[in-house]
């Protein structure tokens, strides 16, 4: 670790001796698909751990579960441009923006900052024609990441929070799979994470506004609960936050899973379309022996829980980025369904 720090310090000295790296707006605005992440000049240092000038780190109240990967998010705006506020949808980023997300695993989850191995960095680039998804996979020495539009699999090992070793086949998504989640319902790509309510933490919205990067800041800011922090919301609201972030990018009225009739977005009103007393449509064997997506009082009989606990690709939900079960997320939804009044719906 000390040696790594020394190397980093030497590298920083080296870089500061030359001109400060500038993000390449021409590349962002162009129509090429650069094969190297480095070319954008968004990140510096081994495995791109250091954001360059103008690249702002941010975090979310409730993040998408990605096979326990540690994730590092950054946003970049072209000079003088602002994000437009949106109440419910993702904030509207100007043309020339880039959202950056790096995925990695520490050797031991109990020491998340130690021996972190960054696997990939995904870019969403806002061009004139819309968002473009570019998945980059890091080389082993962390000097650059290479575009893998067809995706790939990487074997990953770590020691889990329970001290036990874990091995998974980690999937870097192909660009169609990027769209599988980032589908904007109009044959293009959209954002999922950076909704005002999810980014509203640690003064991030205020800082964006104060920095001239956000066009306005309503007095009454919405806030999504932190799924695993009971001080931020009730059991129900945290469960709904979890569903909103982990499921609703497909399971909404216009998303890739709209035809299931199961819509799990934050705005969805209670009723069959939220899953309570909802029979499966095209779940096939994904339904297991359950009759309802959610059977109040009976998480063990609820298809939602069954599918979240499965690793079989024909059953598992979400369909992508789920080589392992999110035990803590399942526990939250279990608790929520178990606490639902049994007469919440007439089932037979």
């Amino acid at each position: 670790m000390k040696r790594a720090l020394a190397a980093l310090a030497a590298w920083v000295l080296l870089v500061s001796a030359s001109s400060p790296p500038e993000v390449d707006d021409t590349l962002i605005m162009g129509d090429t698909l650069p094969s190297s992440l480095k070319a954008f000049n968004l990140l510096s240092g081994p495995f791109g751990r250091i954001p360059n000038a103008g690249v702002t780190p941010y975090s979310l109240n409730t993040p998408l579960f990605s096979d326990y990967a540690e994730k590092f998010r950054f946003l970049y705006l072209p000079k003088g441009k602002k994000i437009e506020w949106r109440d419910d949808d993702a904030l509207d980023f100007p043309v020339g923006s880039v959202l950056v997300k790096s995925f990695g695993y520490p050797a031991d989850m109990r020491k998340p900052d130690d021996q972190l191995r960054i696997l990939e960095t995904r870019l969403l680039v806002r061009r004139e024609a819309g968002w473009v998804a570019l998945p980059y996979v890091w080389n082993t020495d962390g000097t650059d990441a290479i575009l893998k539009r067809a995706g790939m699999r990487v074997d990953v090992n770590w020691t889990h929070l329970d001290g036990k070793p874990r091995t998974i086949s980690y999937a870097v998504p192909n660009v169609n799979q990027c769209k599988g989640c980032h589908d904007n319902g109009a044959n293009g790509l959209g954002l999922i994470g950076p909704k005002a309510r999810n980014i509203n933490r640690d003064g991030q919205l205020q800082a964006l506004y104060a920095g001239g990067k956000l066009d306005r800041l309503p007095a009454d800011l919405p806030r999504l609960p932190v799924w695993n922090d009971p001080s931020t919301g009730s059991l129900e609201s945290r469960a709904r936050a979890y569903l909103d972030v982990n499921c609703a990018h497909c399971h909404n009225r216009s998303g890739p899973a709209n035809t299931s009739g199961l819509w799990l977005d934050w705005e969805q009103q209670p009723g069959p379309n939220l899953g309570v007393g909802k029979r499966p449509t095209a779940a096939g064997r994904g339904s297991g022996d359950g009759e309802f997506a959610i059977e109040p009082g009976h998480p063990d009989r609820s298809i939602m829980i069954y599918r979240m606990q499965s690793l079989d690709p024909g059953i598992a939900m979400p369909e992508l980025g789920r080589a392992t079960v999110h035990q803590e997320g399942v526990a939250l939804l279990n608790q929520w369904i178990a606490a639902m009044p049994m007469d919440a719906v007439r089932l037979k």
Binding site: M152, R153, G261, K278, T281, G284, R285, G288, P313, G314
Partner: protein, 399 residues
């Protein structure tokens, strides 16, 4: 008329001229997953992806999101996409673009659905095979061929075996033709669900649990299924015990049913050969589960059953067919046509007995059935349905 300037004429030619379209070839061998997926991503509208002879061992689902692409193999016995080692994705191949033609290959042993197309208008499935090679098993994927939320769907000359839900399933779509296809050893052979306008003809549905199903379900974006013609099919010897997971709607399909019409209006069933189905040949019912969707009609109406050739039926009713054993004891067999008694304007002129369960509410099937032989020949003939016409480009694609 002014002469067309040369440059514009040339660019018009470029659009029409297939010489400007590329062919991307992908051969079997190592790293088939990334080479095939890369071709599916790199294809430009108008291109053809030619998949070579051999087995392609795939580790993940494939997907195509480019309009006007043809994916063509060397034939469903020669080009085999095997998903036995699949680690992710809900289907073998997913298509989310318009005007796509899929032809001449097989998809085997996908963990979820075989080939799914969503919001893929004018899709053509031709000369394909989707199969779970271990025979009918609950661990097989749900649907073989699965177009959903699309307008203009052509399924021609495909074979599906072993789906744990429906072999050929068309959901929430409009203007559909399913023809010249074979569905065997699936729970449902061919299923048209929540669709508007479908012609299903010259297919063979054998050794499924149920042969051909026309269903409608509540709580979905498109519901109120209507205008379906089932004609000139063979739906025989549907004798595979139901192996669907119990929550699914097809888990209620009685072992050995030729045709089931549930909660649809304007349905014609004619000129089919239907026989050797242990529960019954034709089953006309309402949706029997409770629902809260106020825009949903659970009852069948305007159904015309005529000119079908019936073989033996009702000799071994499945456990899903309540009262079946009692009917066999009383009558020797379940009649070839059974109606639950709900809905309006059900006309049957086939020369075989029709049994009504005498229900006023489809929910009461297990408790209040009052079965009796009825004559539905006097019901008024519903207005004849028009043949489904697809855009000519779709028929041209397979000529």
């Amino acid at each position: 008329m002014k002469p067309i300037p040369f440059l514009i004429a040339a660019s018009l030619l470029a659009i029409a001229n297939p010489a400007f379209a590329d062919t991307l070839r992908v051969e079997a061998g190592t790293d088939a997953q990334s080479r095939l997926q890369a071709a599916l991503i790199d294809a430009k509208p108008g291109d053809t992806i030619e998949i070579g002879v051999g087995r392609f061992e795939l580790t993940d689902g494939l997907s195509l999101d480019v309009d006007r692409v043809t994916v063509r193999g060397a034939g469903p016995g020669a080009t085999i996409l095997s998903f036995k080692a699949q680690k992710g994705a809900g289907e073998g191949l997913l298509v989310t673009a318009d005007d796509v033609v899929l032809r001449g290959f097989a998809v085997e042993d996908s963990r979820g659905d075989g080939i799914k197309s969503k919001a893929a208008n004018r899709i053509v499935y031709h000369d394909l095979r989707v199969e779970w090679t271990g025979g009918p098993k609950a661990s097989n994927g749900a649907y073989g061929i699965y177009p959903v939320e699309s307008t203009d769907v052509l399924i021609d000359k495909v074979t599906v075996r072993g789906a744990s839900d429906a072999g050929i399933y068309v959901g929430q779509s409009k203007n559909i033709v399913v023809r010249n296809s074979i569905a065997m050893f699936n729970v449902a052979g061919i299923e048209i669900e929540n669709c508007y306008g479908a012609d299903v003809y010259q297919n063979v549905a054998m050794h499924n649990t149920g042969g051909i199903l026309v269903f409608d379900l509540p709580d979905l974006p498109q519901k109120g299924g209507h205008t379906v013609r089932i004609f000139s099919n063979r739906t025989e010897k549907n004798d595979t015990p139901n192996f669907a997971p119990k929550g699914n709607i097809v888990a209620g399909v009685p072992n050995g049913t030729g045709v089931i019409i549930m909660a649809n209006r304007n349905v014609e069933v004619f000129n089919n050969v239907i026989g050797e189905n242990g529960s019954t040949n034709i089953f006309i019912v309402g949706y029997r589960n409770s629902f809260t969707d106020s825009g949903y009609n659970p009852l069948p109406s305007n159904i015309s059953i005529r000119d079908n050739m019936h073989g033996r039926a009702g000799f071994a009713p499945g456990p899903q067919f309540e009262g079946g054993a009692e009917m066999v004891a009383a009558m020797g067999s379940v009649p070839p046509i059974v109606w639950d008694g709900t809905g309006a304007n059900i006309r049957v002129t086939d020369k075989v007995p029709t049994l009504s369960l005498g229900l006023s509410d489809p929910k009461d099937r297990a408790t209040s059935a009052n079965p009796k032989i009825v004559d539905l020949g006097a019901s008024p003939e519903p207005a004849a349905l028009q043949a489904i016409v697809l855009p000519s480009s779709m028929e041209a694609a397979i000529r």
